[in-house]
């Protein structure tokens, strides 16, 4: 039941070993990553109010603050004053290249930023300064959102029939329309058995009828162009049908209220037949991308630069969410965070690529209310403490809820917040589900003064649980970015509670592979606690992207992200409800219930949700942040004179 996650492609300033950070953050499931990635203040988060998949935002109703007003920084940052101007070259500067340019594998937020310009999906998140809208689902190539009312969704909730806009064109010569068959091919390509298909099929296998079978069959194909081509042209996914050139039909195994959400991911992009001539994301592929968006990749030098030009085949009338204001977009790679910041501040560049404002610069920029900076909620929970419930260490102490509950009091969340830049960039979190995700509702079962921890209470509870002499816990931590700081902070906190934390540094690949996701390691007590993080792959209606992967214990096994082997019938039932129910309120309620249950069982210590500080030059107008890429939407930006 895989989900996917992405990397927020942020790289720490001057990161010696910038690449270490990169590697760590690229570790599959999300976020936990980058050191300078940070959360915004409460205000922005509360305003976000949680997105939802449907037109109605059920999540927002549960959020503690309903206000949709934006903070001054965010408003100022958009720079929407004046009317759009066409022309100009947008200069983007960043550090490293995308993970994959092909939508079958592209998984970094940076990749999403770029893909927004030259790929299109059936549905999409609109660019909006209203956080709720920004995570809502709107039609992109599709003409409408399918509902039972408009006949797009069958009565049993299992069949989606989607009509395509007629005038969406590929920039082939001659230009030709994007067809339903192109979308079908896009889904077929997801199953390719090269390692370039990162996490993609997971969201579709088991959801769309026949997808699993298709992928299994595809897996046996020899990985070369001809065999792939033959396979894809001769085999079909039974649950995806091109009814005609402009109609596509999906049949699902079970009703899935979040299916439109899933279709907003770039994995669901249309693919022109030309792509059959290349292995997915091969070097040749990268030189021959074909665009149906407002821009196309005119030149690309791996690791060094991109040049994007306006796509002549693209029509504004065909695209409800994108624009084509710019005459060119140049991406230059290499400089690190500090240099990027300097260049944009100096006006020689306009926008960040994979970096953010250096954490240390934020307070000053914020103090001077610099209009070029904006701080945006990530809707993540990052990092947090996870317990290995199976650990035999300390006499299996961690399997006891009372012990874990005691430890919930130990953590000084303010201190961890400071590591990530303090209240400007993150907000303490006391439940599993962060804002912007379905089921979010603020509550706190383990209150401590100022969220700063209560060692005394922890100690007494621990003693009451039968461990007056404390515990000794093994804590694998990654060596990049802020991970060591977080580990050290936890170590200091737990020490005050009489718990000795023995940390040991591990490779990024081992952190999950050898420890968190390896049931054998868990059973042997190779680790007791760990501090991973989680960035949902989409927001709003996303039980499939938060609660299910983290706490559905029914699928526990190698590679599971229910790292601690938490398994609770109540939670499992709630997850099933949330995945299948078409009633947003019911989904929201089920998720909140699950959240309460997990927190009661203290399977998890939430720390905070983060925000990201972004920066652009003063030439940049209409800079609207997309939560999915944690960057400005380049298809909406326009530049003022010069």
């Amino acid at each position: 039941m895989p989900l996917l996650s992405r990397r927020t492609g942020v790289i720490s300033t001057l990161a010696i070993l910038a690449m270490i950070a990169a590697a760590c953050s690229s570790s599959p499931k999300s976020p936990s990553v980058s050191s300078s990635n940070s959360g915004t203040g409460t205000s922005s988060v509360s305003s976000a109010g949680g997105g939802s998949s449907g037109p109605t935002s059920s999540a927002s109703s549960t959020s503690s603050a309903q206000s949709s007003s934006l903070t001054p920084e965010q408003l100022a940052n958009v720079n929407a004053s004046g009317s759009p101007v066409t022309g100009g070259t947008l200069k983007i500067v960043g550090n490293a290249d995308v993970d994959h340019l092909d939508t079958v594998g592209g998984y970094y937020t940076t990749t999403y930023t770029l893909e927004r310009a030259f790929t299109r999906q059936l549905f999409a998140n609109p660019a909006s300064t209203d956080p709720a809208k920004a995570i809502s689902v709107v039609p992109d190539v599709a003409t409408d959102l399918p509902t039972k009312a408009n006949g797009g969704l069958s009565a049993d909730g299992k069949t989606y029939t989607i009509h395509l806009r007629p005038d969406v064109m590929w920039n082939t010569s001659p230009a030709r329309p994007v067809t339903a068959q192109d979308f079908v091919l896009g889904f077929k390509r997801l199953c390719n058995p090269t390692q370039n298909s990162v996490g993609a099929p997971g969201y579709y296998e088991g959801v769309i009828v026949g997808m699993t079978e298709y992928c299994d069959a595809f897996a046996k194909v020899k990985p070369d162009v001809a065999d792939f081509k033959t396979f894809m042209t001769t085999h079909d996914i039974s649950g995806i049908k091109a009814v005609d050139n402009s109609t596509i039909q999906f049949t699902l195994v079970n009703p899935a209220s979040d299916f439109p959400n899933i279709l907003t991911l770039p994995f669901g992009s249309a693919a022109p037949v030309e792509y059959l001539n290349y292995l997915p994301d091969s070097a040749e592929f990268r030189q021959h991308t074909i665009s149906d968006g407002p821009y196309y990749i005119a030149s690309y030098t791996a690791g060094q630069s991109y040049t994007l030009k306006p796509n002549p085949a693209w029509k504004q009338s065909s695209d409800p969410i994108r624009h084509q204001y710019l005459s060119e977009i140049d991406v230059t790679l290499g400089p690190d965070e500090a240099a990027v910041q300097q260049q944009i501040a100096a006006g020689t560049a306009d926008m960040e690529w994979d970096t953010t404002v250096p954490t240390a610069d934020v307070p000053q920029l914020k103090a001077t209310k610099d209009p070029r900076m904006g701080i945006y909620a990530n809707y993540d929970t990052n990092p947090f403490e996870i317990f290995n419930l199976q650990s035999p260490n300390n006499g299996g102490a961690l399997s006891k809820a009372a012990v874990r509950q005691a430890l919930e009091y130990a953590v000084d969340k303010t201190a961890i917040g400071k590591i990530y830049g303090g209240p400007n960039l993150n907000t303490p979190l006391n439940q599993v589900i962060p804002p912007g995700n379905v089921g979010y509702k603020e509550f706190n079962l383990y209150q401590t003064p100022n969220d700063a921890g209560d060692p005394a209470k922890c100690k007494s509870l621990l003693a009451a649980a039968g461990y007056p002499n404390g515990l000794t816990l093994k804590d694998p931590y990654r060596t990049s970015g802020k991970h060591p700081d977080v580990y050290q902070s936890i170590q200091a906190d737990f020490a005050k509670c009489g718990v000795k934390v023995e940390g040991f540094p591990v490779k990024a690949s081992d952190f999950y592979g050898k420890y968190l996701s390896d049931p054998k390691a868990a059973k042997q007590g190779a680790w007791d606690i760990a501090e991973p993080g989680w960035v949902p792959d989409w927001y709003g209606n996303n039980a499939r992207a938060v609660m299910e992967p983290l706490f559905d214990g029914r699928h526990y096994g190698p590679g599971s992200t229910d790292w601690g082997d938490y398994n609770n019938d109540t939670v499992n039932k709630d997850i099933d409800t949330a995945l299948t129910s078409t009633d947003p309120a019911e989904v929201d309620k089920a998720m909140h219930e699950a959240d309460m249950q997990v927190m009661k069982d203290a399977a998890f210590i939430p720390f905070q949700t983060q925000s990201t500080p972004l920066f652009h030059s003063s030439r940049v107008h209409n800079a609207i942040e997309l939560p999915s890429s944690i960057n400005y939407d380049i298809t909406n930006v326009w530049l003022s004179g010069s």
Binding site: P2, L3, L4, S5, L14, A15, I16, L17, A18, M19, I20, A22, A23, C24, S26, S27, P28, K29, N95, Y107, P193, T194, Q195, N196, V198, G199, P201, G202, D216, A219, P223, D281, S282, A283, A302, G303, Q304, T332, G334, P335, D336, A338, A339, Q342, A346, K507, A508, S509, D510, Y512, G513, K514, S517, P549, H555, G557, P558, G559, S560, T561
Partner: protein, 321 residues
């Protein structure tokens, strides 16, 4: 000469082969969990896919077999493909090489020219103020770890100047020479200095020591007795003789530049071989690591052979056999 080349090439190949064995041995100690890194947490639970990817990469075979496959591929001039970018390792290295070459060559020019010059000037006036200053400079330079120097230069010459509104030195990044020579130069000044200082210090000492020794030699007395000018004695006679060991040392230093380049490239955000090597180490991108380690070893071996040849060119007494 030819015999010499053949012999040295063969022993060099032996060294390189041993190194490749050692590199493989490391992976033998702790085989990388590449499939996991590649597939991500969720896909990694898909055992079938893991096995598939592992098999694709040939990682399911015993290490000795993998090593054999590697050797066979190597003999076909194929260094393999990165696990991550899927680009040919040669492409990756080809892309990173100009950066490192720019960095290394520039730094080498700086350190050799200034190091030798300072060393010579200090040796011609031993125990003078300038000699003492040169020695102090040399020892101080020697004591600055590359990364500390890099950070300090960045802090003062980039950050502080930047705050003061002066942007003489870009903080980081690399502009290809072909794209904009001036920017290329500007972007590399601080890295060059960073990489050069420690070695420069060494060359000051080396040149000084060699010059002092040579200046005490009988043929320098002969040169003076011939009525030659002091400049000619210093440069034409003394430096010429002192140059032989300096050149030898230079060959060794150039060969081991990669170590310094790793740190410098990290500090200044240059995407050269150093950065590539570190990222591949962290990612356990075995084909890339092996290629870089071998490339570095080849470089050392070739540099050593070149040094020997140069030695013979510089010193007619040496015959290569």
């Amino acid at each position: 000469m030819l015999r010499f080349l053949i012999r040295r090439t063969l022993t060099g190949l032996l060294v390189i082969w041993l190194i490749s064995v050692v590199v493989f041995a490391i992976f033998f100690i702790a085989p990388p969990n590449v499939a996991f890194l590649l597939l991500g947490k969720f896909q990694a639970s898909n055992q079938q896919l893991v096995e598939q990817v592992t098999a694709q990469l040939g990682l399911n075979k015993p290490i000795p077999v993998q090593y054999w496959d590697f050797l066979v591929r190597l003999l076909h001039g194929n260094l393999g493909y990165s696990y991550y970018s899927h680009e040919a390792v040669t492409t990756l290295i080809g892309r990173a090489l100009p950066v490192t070459a720019s960095l290394a060559i520039g730094a080498a020019v700086i350190w050799v020219v200034s190091g030798v010059l300072i060393g010579v000037l200090s040796a011609t006036h031993p125990r003078s103020i300038r000699d003492r200053l040169a020695t102090l400079f040399a020892l101080t330079g020697l004591s600055f770890p590359t990364f500390v120097l890099g950070l300090i230069l960045l802090f003062f010459l980039f950050y502080k100047l930047h705050l003061a509104g002066i942007d003489w030195f870009p903080g980081s990044g690399y502009i290809p020479l072909t794209q904009d020579p001036w920017q290329w130069f500007l972007h590399l000044i601080l890295p060059w200095v960073t990489l050069a200082v420690a070695s420069m210090a060494v060359y000051v000492r080396l040149a000084r020591g060699q010059m002092l020794e040579v200046l005490g030699d009988d043929y320098i007395r002969t040169a003076r007795a011939k009525g030659l000018s002091e400049t000619r004695v210093t440069f034409r006679h003394a430096l010429r003789a002192a140059l032989v060991p300096i050149v030898t040392q230079f060959g060794i230093d150039v060969a081991t530049l990669l170590g310094g380049a790793i740190v410098t490239e990290q500090v200044f955000g240059l995407n050269g071989l150093g950065a590539l090597s570190v990222s591949s180490v962290v990612n356990q991108d075995e084909p890339v690591i092996i290629a870089i380690v071998l490339l570095a070893a080849v470089f050392v071996v070739v540099a050593n052979i070149l040094v020997d040849i140069l030695y013979a060119v510089l010193d007619p007494r040496v015959r290569l056999e």
